[in-house]
């Protein structure tokens, strides 16, 4: 199977869907002439032209708002938010409009929109530019929120998102673009709202997603050296949230931890824990542990920033604690 970087996988998905359906177009800051801040849309402007690859002013609210309107009118916009931190400037359009327009008008029209947003910390960008607030968007009914952790899933989920008749928030991680992985030839479509076992194991279940999938995988390798086999379940989608495979796994391992990059309180892990207890209470030999970000605005200083972010060692420690 060909090996692609996350960047290539996402770029391919966009390219293929634009070739396939001319209702699909991209709008956002620096997506065109610049080729995308993370070079995801490099070459798109020359190939698809300025009508379909639209550089916008710095105005996130109207980027998402115009995408909502274009979607209402039957196009399939892919709005790029340079970083998810700027999604807060478009928050009303995302949570009050993308998520609600269809239901509020009794289903008179669809809102087939994709919002690509790049999140994550670890690049010394300071408190406002380093957030992983995925859970905040996942809280709102009417949205679908996807956050892949492998090139394969990135390509398959983005293509599905673009073909979806509904608003999908597609969250990429700024430090995963170089991550490589196998991606099958030809059409790759992954279902939204289905989690996936990325590593089998019988001793403990690690529930995670996005960048933390990679971190958890690395931790699992080290644990394997010590004879501890962790099963890793990748949520892939935060809304809808599918805990089926995680619960099935926990009923075997009787031990679980949840690993996310965002802040602990009111994070993804809280919901995952609550559901695990609701549905597998009697199978648990010890409380589920949560590994997450220290609850501070991320500092610029590299040492402090890394201290605050979940590391491989934190995952290993948590696993050993629940064993």
């Amino acid at each position: 199977m060909p090996v692609l970087t996350m960047r290539e996988a996402i770029s391919q998905a966009l390219w293929e869907e634009m070739e396939r359906d001319d209702r699909v177009f991209i709008l956002g800051e620096e997506v065109g002439v610049w080729g995308g801040t993370y070079a995801v849309t490099k070459g798109f402007y020359d190939h698809f032209g300025p009508e379909r690859v639209r550089d916008t002013p710095i105005a996130e609210a109207v980027i998402v708002g115009a995408a909502n309107g274009a979607a209402m009118a039957g196009l399939r916009p892919v709005a790029e938010l340079m970083t998810i931190n700027f999604a807060f400037l478009a928050m009303d359009q995302i949570v009050n409009h993308s998520a609600k327009l269809r239901a509020m008008f009794g289903g008179q029209f669809d809102v087939p929109l994709v919002i690509r947003a790049v999140g994550g910390g670890g690049r010394q960008l300071g408190a406002t530019h380093s957030q992983t607030p995925d859970v905040v968007f996942a809280h709102f009914p009417g949205l679908k929120v996807v956050a892949p952790g492998t090139p394969h899933d990135a390509k398959g989920l983005l293509k599905t998102a673009i073909r979806s008749q509904n608003p999908v928030m597609f969250i990429e991680h700024a430090t995963l673009y170089q991550t490589r992985g196998e991606v099958p030839e030809g059409e790759v479509l992954e279902p939204i709202g289905v989690s996936k076992v990325q590593r089998p194991g019988d001793d403990v279940t690690i529930v995670t997603y996005s960048k933390m999938l990679q971190v958890s995988m690395a931790a699992a390798e080290q644990l394997a050296q010590e004879g501890i086999e962790a099963e890793i379940v990748d949520l892939r989608s935060l809304r809808p949230l599918d805990l089926g495979p995680a619960l099935e796994s926990i009923r075997r391992t009787n031990r679980a931890i949840v690993v996310e990059e965002g802040w602990l309180s009111y994070g993804v892990g809280a919901e995952v824990c609550a559901r695990i207890y609701e549905q597998a209470f009697d199978y648990l030999d010890s409380p589920v542990l949560r590994v997450a970000q220290e609850e501070v605005p991320l500092p610029y200083n590299r040492t402090l920033e890394q201290m605050a972010l979940p590391q491989i060692e934190d995952v290993i420690r948590a696993v050993k604690e629940v064993l």
Partner: protein, 334 residues
Amino acid sequence: MTDKRRIAKKEVQDRLDTPELVRLYHEMVLIRRLEERAADLYQAGKIGGFLHLYIGQEAVASGAISVRRPQDRVITAYRDHGVAVACGMSARVIMAELLGKATGCSKGKGGSMHLADVRLNFWGGHAIVGAHLPLAAGMALADQYRHSDAVTIAMFGDGATNIGYFHEALNLSMVWQLPILWLCENNQYGMGTAVERASAVPEIRQKAEGYGMPNGRVDGMNVIEVRQATEAALERVRSGGPFLLEAITYRYRGHSMGDPERYRSTDEVRKWQEDDPIGIYRTHLVEAGITVKKLEDEESEVAVEIEDAVRFAEDSPEPTPEELYSDIFAEEAT
């Protein structure tokens, strides 16, 4: 105003045929009566939530929308009943929505602030101030993208021009030369805040200058002038680029139901009532030779229409419990 009025009167005689003149009258009276009836039903507890009446502003929706073509889209804010009527929505469907019935345009899920019928190219009814301006830009972009000659008419209040959405949407519409008519209904207040207390410039029109956008002002109490100004504006938009038209109007009732109205004097309201858009227009029509009898017939027709609409709404079923979970997502084409 009197000269302007005379011009209008002349236009009435020269340019508009009688059926259309009468249709406009009928429509404005229908809006007025519908709103009055809605107020009663609100007092009677049959309508809940917010209820923003259009009384006093009828000439804006009726005048402007009377010259849009079927392919032209209309979108507005929560003060949307009059716009819905002007877009061709029946009093029945509107009343049903106000009463939260399954037969309402939004199945009773949207209510007063969320009237829409996309088959009529009426896209709502939006409750967040200014948030529909980007939506309008996006719809206009879709039409431009498809090389359609459709224009989007985006209506909004004076208060909405102070929010960031207005700026981002107007700027984008110029940069991308979108086919959109920005139609501001300046009714002098945003809730209880007079234009001058919230806006750096008293003429909303002037804000367009900051974008180099062509713009104009029109007497929003005069349906014929609004119609003509809109016709001209739409022409310009079709020949390329957005236009901002400011209609000077007034809201006779409170902002919503239960407005203490501490912010204006009854004298001020009375002064504006002398310019009642329906009263003015009626006078024109009579001067233009349309018989009082004819107009009275229209008025009684409206009365019947309204009562029928109320009956229809009251007799209509509530949405079923399953409706709580439906319409959130579209079926995915698998």
